[in-house]
Symmetry: C2
Subunit: 190 residues, 2 copies
DNA sequence: CATGGTAGGTAGACTGATCTACCTACTACG
DNA sequence: CGTAGTAGGTAGATCAGTCTACCTACCATG
């Protein structure tokens, strides 16, 4: 049974779109470029996605799950609540260290949001993702008996987000390494 | 003397491009939309700018100067080093509270950078802007005899940048208000 | 087993709109 | 006259999306 059963074309499209959207932006990346890069017929794109916007939403979902995977992996290796807080930070570091076609350019979800109009479904998805990350931080901080889990989670979320943006502008993970130090300092002698 | 002496067309173009680029992104905003919105002939765009990319660079420069103006205004009202640190934060708040066509959408420079390829002149300009803000913070912190001006400036810069992004996603200045509280806490009982 | 339907793939032409950029021709003003 | 503005046409590429026509592979049924 070497059958593909359900759409290998869809996977190829998501892979190519993932690379191209991240490196060059969603608006600037055309349909033809994506199908060519995926080695797939244009019809296959519209067999699997209703429109380009639909593909961008799938792209956002894929980036969301990708981050969750990095986080889960780090979480499995953490044995204390403090380490679980830092697992979130390490997931960001792992993200920055993934290989990219034309270099690390910051958070793919935030970059995508910058191209989406206010109130659009995609932008809302990014907003929910960031809120989920903050909630994860708050959970681990509560477990660690932190004085103000919500407030500290927000502080850490801002710190991470800002460091990620700066790291993206500089094409390096250095800023995130510094953010991890600051975060560890905040968590351990709270 | 109703004379325009030097190019009111240029100003009209920068004003229209400012609104349209911020609200809808640079790539998605076409030349014709800009000239129509500016009430200006297409030729006037190419009289004043070499290309669309040249216009985007002018847009970035304008956003940079706009932020510096907000900051200078806040700085003039600050009488202590601690207040001067918070003047930087307040400039971000002022930015979020400016009127926008389709709502506040975060830092225009960072949004623009998300559309620019790694290593491009525009992206480098945004990077330099962020470094300048951090240097301003470091200067005021040193003046305030802070223990680690550089490190604290970086911490505050991350905090601000992250809060700005979250505020943009939510279309509200609330996150920045929280960031100001955190910053004040960090600065005053450092 | 044979056959025909279904699902999803391929290549690529095509439409109508829009993109950047340049151009002509005319106008207002110092 | 020269400069910078106006209106708008045009070239040539590219955009998203639809379509035809053909090609498998799987599956259910007579």
């Amino acid at each position: 049974m070497s059958t593909h059963t359900t759409a290998p074309a869809r996977e190829k499209l998501l892979e190519a779109a993932g690379r191209l959207f991240y490196a060059g932006g969603m608006t600037a990346t055309g349909i033809d470029t994506i199908t060519t890069e995926a080695g797939v017929a244009k019809k296959s794109l519209y067999n699997n996605f209703r429109s380009k916007e639909d593909l961008t939403l799938a792209y956002l979902e894929a980036r969301h799950r990708e981050w969750l995977d990095l986080y889960q992996h780090r979480l499995a290796q953490a044995s204390t609540p403090d380490q679980r807080v830092l697992a979130v930070v390490d997931a960001y570091l792992d993200h920055a260290r993934l290989p990219y076609d034309r270099g690390f350019r910051g958070c793919g979800l935030l970059n995508a949001a910058a191209e989406l109009p206010a109130g659009s479904p995609g932008r809302e998805a990014v907003r929910r993702h960031k809120e989920e990350v903050e909630a994860l931080l708050a959970g681990h901080l509560a477990e660690a008996q932190a004085a103000d889990p919500q407030g500290t989670a927000e502080h850490l979320a801002f710190l991470l987000e800002g460091a990620m943006s700066r790291a993206g502008l500089e094409g390096s993970d250095e800023r995130l390494v510094r953010a991890r130090q600051i975060a560890a300092h905040l968590v351990c002698r709270r």
